[in-house]
Amino acid sequence: MHLRDSESDAAFRTEVREWLGGAVASLPSRPSDDDWPGRRAYDAHWQRLLFDAGYAGINWPAEHGGRGATPTEHLIFLEESAAAKAPDVGVGFVGQMHAGPTIIAEGTDAQKSHHLRGILTGEHVWCQGFSEPGSGSDLASLRTRAFRDGDDYVVTGQKIWTSHAMAADYCEMLVRTDPNELKHKGISWLIMPMDLPGIDVRPLVTVHGSTEFAELFLDEVRVPVSNLVGEENDGWRVANVTLSFERGTGFVGELLDTTNVFQELIEFSKSTTRNGKSVYDDDSIRREIGIIGADLDALWAFTKRNVSQGARGGMVMGSGSGFKVAFATTQHRLGDLALRVLDRSSLSLDDLDGLPTGELVHAKLHAFAISLGGGTTQIQQNIIAERVLGLPRER
């Protein structure tokens, strides 16, 4: 086992670091979170810089326009991007992480040539229409109906938790094409252009007040049959095909953000005085910092194990679920500590006195995004109990 870079990885790290230094310095200032046109333009500009330098689709296969980097190189790229304070994937998330890889695996040649380049250059933004108000953890119960009418599917229903819908050109969507089949059968995977008639996008305001998500109301939207990816009624399998691409890097961006927030919390605790001494010098606070620090270091090591296993060709069963639950637990613990350290400064979601106080309250609220999004902690626990430990199913 090793943690040091191999010779070629070290060379890659140097190359990436040099490029990022120049590219990040050239960026304009970031738009505000609610300025969707501004965010879209900013993220697209960064993605174009990555594309021109050959870093777009870093983990995508080379024959589909990606760089074909190893999982380890991908991790190095993310680490160096964070160190250089480079923008994260932003509104390119769904396209680059899910829709693109799905089209690579299951799309027709026409779909590949029409969509992949736009995702890589940042020209096309995607959103995800999977969850529904009645279908959360039990996603396969989804009811958005698509019936065939000539060369179109006519789609009617409602989607929720649609990230970046406010800025998206396309939606990767799961619909029920066979209403007589329950659950996983009878579902299809469609590419829905977001400018079609019958789509109503309404922002969904989250607990921290952001409009990151939206609801989609779909009323007889006519999606061409040529936008079906994979076979009709085989959409559940198509939606899961990206799982086999997972190489342990999925949460690196979030983990980097959390590590930065943690460092800011430590600085804040050292510079804030309470009862005549710094908050950091309170034994119970300092030891909680130590425990969370140990957990973050462990989560980095866990990530490196998963990436190492990914480099050997596939993940160990349960390792993604296990990481996510542990990460969510640490996020919540960090958020709880932040509120203790902030004391009454936690009454403001805006930063106070030039200190990152509001950002720390946001971190506590954001912890729920980790313990709820992409399969709740309890669903992940079920997966581990049944598929790793072999415990019997409840029903």
Binding site: I291, A294, A298, R305, V388, L391
Partner: protein
């Protein structure tokens, strides 16, 4: 970077696991509750496998592998609850004559600033190693007086309270003491990580067999979530224990004190919490001497006190984050 075991490392772990199952079944481990229960011939067999000299250079009679390999071995020993002064023997191999082949059995005390001088496995050992800020000293056990505890908390870890601070001859200065404290802490943490995995396996097997309300209790989500959390704690602990082991071999990749202290925190939590879950899953039977669940819990309690408390470890991690 590659933080998963190689094929050779997996084989090493399988060999130790297989040996432990064959030669240290639970009845033998339980017999360590007798003060005369230490079996020197089995200890020698363990030594003959190369267990204590895994990371000792070949020219000094060892196997010549890296420290991470010793860490993996201790994880396997911890999972099987193999008893005896395993950490002391690994630290002393290559330094104290006869330890590596099992002919000399060592025990060790990391001198506390205050409180009683309690030594594990003193009565079974030939020599005592005394670790302090000044260095490491060696003294024959026959020259020291102490009284054995009649009811040690962990029945498989007999302990003795020494009458006074022992004085021996020096085998190394402050640098050796620092290295031993770091390595000793990590080897104990590796056993804790293994312990957490062993108690989880015991609990999972029981949850599959035991039926209530007409079905296996492991089908209930209340237990599933407890057991999934145990598995996750082990994977988190194992991650930091492995990273710390590699950091000792490759010091340029990070801070050894931070990695070692972090490994202690995650591994101690995994071991104690998973053993508690194991007792709970066994229901009333978990509260009995007969079921092995308490042996995991009590061993975990012993190990988590070795080479500093978990509060000390939390202070170390916090300080090393805060100075950045």
């Amino acid at each position: 970077m590659d933080l998963q075991p190689t094929d050779d490392q997996n084989s090493l772990v399988e060999m130790i696991t297989g040996f432990a199952a064959d030669r240290f079944p639970i009845e033998i481990i339980r017999s360590f509750s007798d003060r005369t229960g230490f079996d020197r011939s089995r200890w020698s067999e363990l030594a003959a496998l190369g267990t204590f000299g895994v990371a000792v250079p070949e020219e000094s009679g060892g196997v010549g592998l890296n420290f991470i390999d010793a860490v993996l071995v201790h994880e396997a020993l911890g999972a099987a609850l193999v008893p005896g002064p395993l950490v002391a023997a690994t630290l002393a191999s290559g330094v104290v004559e006869g330890v590596i082949d099992g002919s000399v059995v060592p025990c060790l005390v990391d001198l506390p600033h205050d409180g009683p001088l309690i030594v594990e496995h003193f009565r079974s050992a030939d020599v005592l190693l005394v670790v302090s800020d000044n260095g490491v000293e060696l003294i024959s056990c026959s020259e020291i007086s102490g009284s054995d505890v009649l009811h040690p908390t962990d029945p498989t870890t007999p302990v003795t309270v020494l009458a006074s601070r022992p004085e021996g001859k020096s085998v190394g200065g402050p640098e050796l003491a620092t290295a031993w404290r770091q390595r000793g802490s990590l080897l104990a943490s590796a056993q804790l990580s293994g312990n957490s995995s062993g108690s989880t396996s015991l609990a999972v097997e029981y949850a599959k067999e035991r039926e209530q309300f007409g079905r296996p209790i492991g089908s209930f989500q209340g237990l599933k979530h407890l057991l999934a959390d145990s598995w996750i704690r082990t994977e988190v602990a194992r991650s930091s224990v492995w990273a710390a082991g590699v950091t000792i071999d490759e010091p340029e990749v990070g801070s050894i004190p931070r990695a070692v202290a972090g490994a202690r925190l995650t591994a101690a939590r995994a071991a104690t919490e998973n053993a508690k879950t194991c007792v709970q899953v066994h229901g009333g039977m978990g509260f009995t001497w007969e079921v092995d669940a308490h042996l995991f819990l009590k061993r975990a309690w012993i190990l988590e006190t070795q080479f500093g408390s978990i509060d000390d470890a939390a202070d170390v991690v916090a300080e090393l984050y805060a100075i950045r």
